[in-house]
């Protein structure tokens, strides 16, 4: 019952921490490993206090060695542990791409179903935090092309906790994508146990004129945009896909059939990005329902500029979504 659920305000980082802690209490096979996650409590404090509580055999500080962080997680998973590895920045994923994409993700298949690799690789992108080109990028589409991998994004503290718990219980490798700008944002999180299933998008706001699909941080921008569009007499529906692999394309298509317009807004690069994939898939089965070409709000094909005003212009935001929606509808 809705009334009986106790909600507290928790930060995104604390929600993640609660998920890790609860799953570690629930399952002794859950092991954390990564750079600075123990003594330093994690760069974003998502692992705060866990070393003290669970000890150095379950919270493993590692050297700066992304290949062996991911590779050791694969090995641990092969013998029945449930490793949750942390890669400090999404920009460091290419260093361990082989272990994540070519080892972990493919091994279920290549072994003909003999092996499973239940591991979580947590990482975050720091666009908007003046971290420069090599500490900011968000590249989720790269990983949507990897069969065997699940790809999760979390836009709120509630989702961060519920999705991370599901990720840890999954029997497959899960890439869990967090957002640096969101760690300190707060939101309601139930005290009671809950998980969020993969492959189920959430309709954040109902609307009739245009569907806005948001990913990660941009879900918040889409909600802001929808609120302002309402003032202009445009009714926007906002969908958070939550997981990119599996992708709940049905919910998006059903929405587009009602609104006849689609915008995909994401902090990734537009070329070959998440928006391109969603757009292509939607038009394959709902072309006849569209009143306007599908639009993407995403980043330019340049490295991320450091200069704060340039980075600000580079990032998708509510204003760009509003402008796009307004142009589509012609108001």
């Amino acid at each position: 019952m809705q009334e009986t659920i106790k909600l507290r305000e928790l930060s995104y980082a604390d929600a993640l921490r609660e998920a890790l802690r609860e799953e570690m209490l629930r399952d002794p096979n859950v092991i954390l490993l990564g750079e600075e996650i123990g003594v330093f409590n994690g760069v974003y404090k998502a692992t705060r206090g866990l070393l003290d509580e669970f000890g150095p055999e379950r919270v493993k500080d590692t050297p700066i060695s992304e290949i062996v962080i991911a590779g050791a997680a694969v090995g641990m998973a092969l013998v029945g542990l449930k490793p949750v590895a942390e890669i400090m920045y999404m920009d460091f994923l290419p260093i361990c791409m082989d272990q994540l994409c070519t080892q972990a993700a493919k091994m279920r298949f290549m072994s003909g179903g003999q092996l499973k690799v239940p591991m979580v690789l947590r990482t975050q992108y720091s666009l908007g935090r003046q971290h420069g080109s090599q500490h900011s990028q968000f590249t989720p589409a790269w990983f949507m092309q990897v069969p065997g991998l699940k790809v999760v994004t979390a836009a709120t503290p509630y989702d961060a906790k519920g999705l991370l718990k599901t990720a840890i219980r999954d029997n497959n490798p899960v890439l869990f994508l967090e957002c640096g700008l969101l760690y300190r944002t707060k939101g309601p999180v139930p005290e009671e146990e809950y998980t969020i299933p993969f492959g189920k998008a959430e309709i954040k706001r109902k609307g009739e004129d245009v569907t806005i699909v948001g990913i990660s941080r941009v879900v918040g921008e889409a909600i802001t945009a929808a609120t302002k569009l309402e003032e202009k007499g445009i009714s926007a529906e906002v969908i958070d896909v939550r997981t990119l692999q599996p992708l709940d394309i049905e919910t998006i298509i059903e929405s587009v059939k009602r609104t006849s317009r689609l915008i995909i807004a994401c902090d990734d690069i537009r070329t070959g990005g998440v928006g391109a994939e969603i757009s292509a898939t939607v038009q394959e089965s709902a072309f006849g329902y569209l009143d306007a070409p599908i639009q993407r709000v995403a980043c330019a094909l340049t490295p991320i500029p450091f200069s704060p005003p340039l980075e600000h212009l580079y990032m998708p935001n509510a204003d760009r979504i509003i402008e796009t929606a307004t142009n589509m509808i012609g108001k």
């Binding site: 060695s65 991911a70 050791a72 090995g75 179903g113």
Partner: protein, 339 residues
């Protein structure tokens, strides 16, 4: 320190439990590995029955057989694309291996892995095989951590070639294995060439063993063409790994009798060098030793070879009779379901 395994004496036979039965088992396994690869070569080159890359283990039989025989059957292995020998030595049934090479659903990986992943058969502890050079070493670190964490008495052995020691994965893996004191045995099968590139043109250090020593890891140089040396070295190292979680690095000096893959004639190698190594054929030398030590006779060895040949022919028959998985079914193998 770096130790070098000298000739294994007859006294060691009893100290290391090398009974006549075990010695015969080892010879039979080596013959199985050899004849399996010779059959693969024939199926590729003469009969055109197989296609794709296939990296033969010819000449390196003493390493897989020496190591696997010394290990506990429940110990795990992480190996590579040159893995037919590791698979067979770790008791993956030859008929399943053969069917896998043929791409049949009756193969151990249902024909979805192929030659380079035929050593994946967790039922016998043949846990993992990767086709990316060096990538198994970080995975072995994680397997070792898992075994240690679960307080298992078992350990993990990982096999790789000399080419792997120049990859980042090797160095990151070595460091963590030594740093965390993980029960991992690392076998670098130095067969002198990474594809066509000789070790001298690829490795800056004076030896591969020296490089391993820099990670503060127990390091042993072994004659990789002598099955007894590999066996004895493994026994000692496995004990250290089991009792005190000490990793050991082996540089096994050997030579691939043929080229990198089944289609490579290895013509970049000096003829004298090839001839010198062929004279050290690990099976011929082991047979001679067993005859000299009066463990086996020429006749029994011939019987062993005939029985292995029949096993191989049966495996080919089993493989050819199978069918490929229906295409629609491959989707079922991408993700693991819930418990």
């Amino acid at each position: 320190m770096t130790t070098t395994i000298q000739e294994v004496s007859q006294k060691d036979f009893s100290n290391y439990g090398l009974t006549a039965e075990k010695l015969t088992y080892m010879l039979r396994k080596m013959v199985l590995l050899r004849k399996f690869e010779e059959k693969i070569e024939e199926l590729f080159l003469v009969k055109g029955a197989l296609i794709g890359p296939s990296h033969l283990y010819l000449g390196q039989e003493a390493i897989a057989v020496g190591a696997m025989t010394a290990l506990d059957p429940n110990d795990l292995t992480v190996t590579t694309y040159r893995g037919h020998g590791h698979a067979l030595a770790k008791d993956v049934p030859p008929n399943l291996c053969m069917a896998e090479l043929f791409g049949k659903s009756t193969g151990n990986c249902k024909g979805l892995g192929g030659s380079m992943h035929v050593a994946i058969y967790p039922k016998t502890g043949s846990l993992y095989a990767t086709a990316i050079v060096g990538s198994g070493i970080p995975i072995a670190a994680g397997v070792g951590f898992g075994l240690k964490h679960k307080k298992s008495q078992n350990i993990v052995a990982t096999f790789f070639g000399d080419g792997a020691v120049n990859t980042g994965a090797f160095h990151e893996g070595m460091n963590l294995i030594a740093l965390w004191k993980l029960p991992v045995l690392l076998y670098c099968e130095n067969n002198q060439y990474a594809m066509s590139t000789p070790v001298s043109k690829a490795v800056s250090s004076r030896s591969i063993a020296e490089r391993a020593r820099a990670y503060n890891m127990e390091t042993v140089v072994v004659n990789g063409n002598d099955v007894l040396s590999v066996y004895v070295a493994t026994k000692d190292a496995a004990k250290r790994a089991r009792t005190s979680s000490q990793p050991t690095f082996f540089e096994c000096i050997t030579y691939k009798m043929k080229g990198h893959g089944v289609y490579d004639k290895g013509e970049y190698r000096p003829r004298e060098e090839v001839e010198k190594w062929l004279a050290k054929d690990p099976i011929k030398t082991f047979e001679k030793r067993l005859i000299d030590e009066k463990v086996l006779t020429e006749n029994t060895i011939q019987e062993i070879k005939q029985s292995v040949q029949k096993e191989i022919e049966d495996a080919v028959k089993f493989a050819t009779e199978g069918t490929a998985l229906p295409f629609d079914e491959i989707l079922n193998y991408v993700y693991a379901g819930d418990d």
